[in-house]
Symmetry: C2
Subunit: 170 residues, 2 copies
């Protein structure tokens, strides 16, 4: 099985994101709008429990963090993805770093870019169209993320939450 | 917004349930296979937080419970629903009862029948067909449920987990 670690933004942001995802995100039905903190990791039942325990330990002293969502971004030309850009406190980066520790997920080859995907699995032309529209749309959300979740993937591709971790008040 | 309280069975049971739900459950894409402990309750953001706090208190002393899934059942003719029957320890009934306390969700008009829905939104003829097949299928799962979740519903009908509560070992 695969697991991942995410934060869900507020219902307001999720509803906004879904209004685009329902048309443009090939993973729309698999899980709600989210900020990935650790991407898909292959494991078994024992590995999932170990990851949950590890996460329990590193979140014990972790603090809630503020995010601001000022605009959209894209990973084009590497990936035909449009996302909500997430500007976050250092705390989110620390969490991401702790989860890529060599004792856990191992180091990442990529720089961490917190984001909420709006569109993927689209053509380059579709991307240009949608991205053009979204850049003209006023976007400005600010909120506090005070919990993160570990999820695992079912055979049909959808994700189930295994555990939630509260982060301490700021 | 609406919230609800559920338990997710193991990945094995969820994958089994989804193999039917994908064809026969009109709520397939809204959330993973689950045992409802408290059905949809209308609330606002403050009410969700209050419910989460209430749940934190009643689960502090709650114990994990065993379930056995021996066969399918149906709510026909009241509802065209086919479900996996869930035989559970008293602990699950206690949780359900605590959540229907008058200080919280209010009393339920129905007797609590723990189940995992496989099919809904189908015609009577479809139900007879599918139910007939499923009654001939060998079903026997036994497992321990050691966590429950509070979820809220997005505008698109799908559900996001807000918080997880671990139940103590048996």
């Amino acid at each position: 099985m695969k697991y991942g670690i995410v934060a869900f933004p507020s219902k307001e942001v999720q509803d906004f994101a879904n209004s685009y995802r329902m048309r443009y995100d090939s993973h729309y039905a698999q899980l709600p709008p989210h900020i990935t903190i650790l991407g898909e990791v292959e494991t078994d039942e024992a590995g999932l429990k170990a990851a949950a325990d590890y996460l329990f330990n590193i979140t014990k002293d972790a603090k809630a963090f503020s995010i601001n969502i000022p605009k959209v971004g894209t990973f084009k030309p590497i990936n035909n993805v449009i996302y909500l850009k997430v500007d976050a406190d250092e705390e989110l980066y620390n969490l991401n770093k702790a989860l890529h520790d060599s004792d856990f997920g191992g180091s990442s080859q990529y720089q961490y870019v917190p984001h909420i995907t709006l569109a993927q699995g689209i053509t380059g032309d579709e991307l240009d169209d949608i991205y053009g529209q979204l850049r003209m749309t006023k976007i400005d959300f600010t909120e506090v993320i005070d919990r993160i979740h570990i999820l695992y993937q079912l055979e049909n591709g959808s994700w189930t939450v295994y555990e939630t971790y509260r982060l301490q008040e700021q």
